[in-house]
């Protein structure tokens, strides 16, 4: 059950150019968080109403002592404010929110496809489901300087292939190139992805063609994060036709066909 709580920042560390991992102290509210669920973080200081809205972030990993972390990229006022937090500062969190990735019980070999700041929920998935399935991660970034996460996958014993747009690290090209390679081998029976919208759309197409069940985690501008304001909707195919569903409530994870249909 979601709740609002305040906990302490334990540490911040840069993980790539303009990307930081923020580690926060254990709080029981997040003990049962599922991969793909997210938290909504207040970025203004108490007593300030600017910036007003909370900011959504996926969990990145959990530590042995219960501490947990997010990785964020500094893109605006909210993430700049986060980057200013120091160990010992309070952080005001609402969560866990949304519906996470579903583990299809019969699925044994899972491919995780992450692009940029879409990587965090997949690392959290890998960590949470470790031992329950064989996994491989495909990670895409614009360039080497922006890449992060592959060593964390390796530490879980999960191989991570990296693609960069400019070839400065790993494969030169899109992470979807790596995905096509993998799916050609017909070895995978589940696909989990998070990243920019064009990447998700490409992943959905490839997965559909290959007939592999595929879940995607979406992002949309959010007001409340809990389903009350109807800001964050996504047109989703339902039995009653295409309907707006809430990324924060019915999502952020949807089946690829729900969003993109078949092909």
């Amino acid at each position: 059950m979601a709740e609002t709580f305040v906990t302490a920042v334990v540490a911040q560390r840069p993980v790539a150019a303009g990307h930081y991992e923020l580690i926060a102290a254990h709080h029981p509210a997040l003990d049962a968080v599922q991969p793909g669920q997210f938290i909504n973080v207040r970025v203004a200081r108490p007593g300030s109403w600017d910036p007003l809205l909370r900011r959504p972030f996926s969990l990145y990993r959990r530590f042995a002592n219960g501490d947990w972390s997010i990785v964020y990229r500094v893109v605006g006022r909210g993430t700049e404010a986060l980057a200013r937090l120091r160990p010992g500062d309070d952080i005001d969190v609402l969560g866990p929110l949304g519906r996470g990735f579903v583990k299809v019980p019969e699925a044994r070999r899972l491919l995780l496809v992450g692009g940029g700041v879409g990587v965090p929920p997949l690392l959290f998935l890998a960590q949470t489901w470790q031992g329950q399935a064989e996994m491989k991660a495909l990670l895409g970034f614009a360039e080497a300087g922006l890449a992060f996460g592959w060593t964390e996958f390796a530490a879980l014993g999960i191989e991570a292939e990296v693609a960069t747009d400019d070839g400065s690290l790993g494969h030169r090209g899109f992470v979807t190139d790596l995905l096509e390679n993998q799916l050609n081998r017909n070895e995978w029976d589940g696909l989990y992805a998070c990243g920019p919208r064009p990447m998700l759309e490409a992943v959905a197409r490839i997965a559909c063609r290959a007939g592999v069940p595929c879940q995607l985690a979406f992002e949309e501008a959010m007001g409340c994060g809990v389903g009350a304001c109807l800001s964050c909707v996504l047109p989703v195919r339902t039995e009653g036709g295409v309907q707006y569903q809430r990324v924060c409530r019915e999502g952020p994870v949807f089946w690829a066909e729900e969003v993109y249909g078949h092909g």
Binding site: A2, W49, L52, G223, V226, A228, C229, L230
Partner: protein, 317 residues
């Protein structure tokens, strides 16, 4: 504990703190955070005769101490509301105020009639900020005559208390208030959101798919308080004040300006228990003054007789 119970438009409220329409869905989401029975009333998201799809995304954008929304009044329609949400909401010991929307006078009256027939609803709030399709899309809320026509039609269609909700995007809010009072309003809600927009300077396009959106949140509070103040001097019906209320002190400003009850909107998004925090803060405030809640309503006005010498509206910088 100090007693904040109050009567408004014939409804007994256990306390004057409501949640504002459109910021609280039909109650389900925030019911996971607290017991809705602790609220004075729930004003549910606007309901129309038929389901409305709403606008494409992006539907919101943050602005300094505020946010713009252009949800587009997405709602599943009155039948769905009556079947699914209302029975569930009735399980709580709170007043249920249903916000209604329409694109013509007839649509408003139709929703009002269907809701009234159902029972279990305490009052109707009329959102007059909808475009009037019969009159070229001009909002009902910016023309006193059109607003009055909606209120009259809804009054005829229902036995429930009728609470028009004023749009703040007008030159003379007191004139709008007098028009709906004369048309039979039992109370008045104010304010709805202020029309604004934001531009994405990278894409060189409006951020919102709908171009315009409604500004809410702390940024608008001084404008909303001013309007409550002016309307309090212009009409006799009770007022429900809202616009940027984040804590008990903000609510107290509205009460002192003349609001008999208050509604918490955008603050719910920041803290799901915001309405309870507002209530607790207001209780503390009332206690500190040593006065009764009723005595505080409009208490910042130099003289409190309605319709006499309204304060002259000039900023005068």
């Amino acid at each position: 504990m100090v007693d904040l119970s109050i009567e408004i438009a014939g409804m007994e409220l256990k306390n004057p703190v409501m949640v504002a329409s459109g910021t609280f869905g039909y109650g389900r989401e925030y019911a996971e955070f607290f017991d809705l029975s602790r609220l004075g009333a729930v004003m549910v998201k606007g309901v129309s005769s038929e389901p409305w799809t709403g606008n494409p995304v992006p539907r919101i954008v943050e602005t300094p101490s505020g946010m713009l929304n252009a949800i587009g009044l997405q709602n599943p329609g009155v039948d769905y509301f009556l079947e699914v949400d209302l029975p569930w909401l009735r399980g709580f010991d709170t007043r249920i105020i249903v916000n209604i929307i329409g694109r013509s006078v007839e649509e408003y009256a139709d929703v009002a009639a269907r809701l009234s027939a159902a029972g279990g609803i305490d009052a109707l709030e009329i959102n007059i900020s909808c475009p009037n399709i019969k009159e070229g899309g001009i909002q009902f809320g910016s023309d006193p005559r059109a607003a009055a026509r909606v209120v009259e039609a809804v009054k005829r269609a229902t036995h429930l208390p009728v609470i028009p909700k004023l749009s703040p995007n007008v030159t003379d809010i007191a004139q709008m208030a007098r028009a709906v009072e004369d048309a039979g309003a039992d109370a008045i809600s104010l304010v709805n959101t202020f029309l604004g927009m934001a531009i994405d300077i990278r894409r060189r396009k409006p951020v919102l798919a709908n171009v315009f959106g409604g500004l809410s949140g702390p940024a608008i509070r001084p404008l909303a308080v001013r309007m409550v103040w002016q309307v309090y001097e212009a009409v006799r019906v009770p007022l429900i004040g809202m616009g940027g209320i984040m804590d008990g002190a903000d609510a107290a400003e509205f009460v002192l300006a003349g609001a008999r009850a208050v509604a918490v909107g955008t603050a719910n998004f920041i803290r799901p228990t915001a309405a309870l925090d507002v209530l607790a803060g207001l209780e503390r405030y009332v206690e500190e003054t040593g006065l009764s809640y009723a005595e505080l309503i409009g208490a910042a006005h130099p003289r409190r007789t309605a319709r006499q010498e309204p304060t002259r509206p000039e900023a005068n910088q």
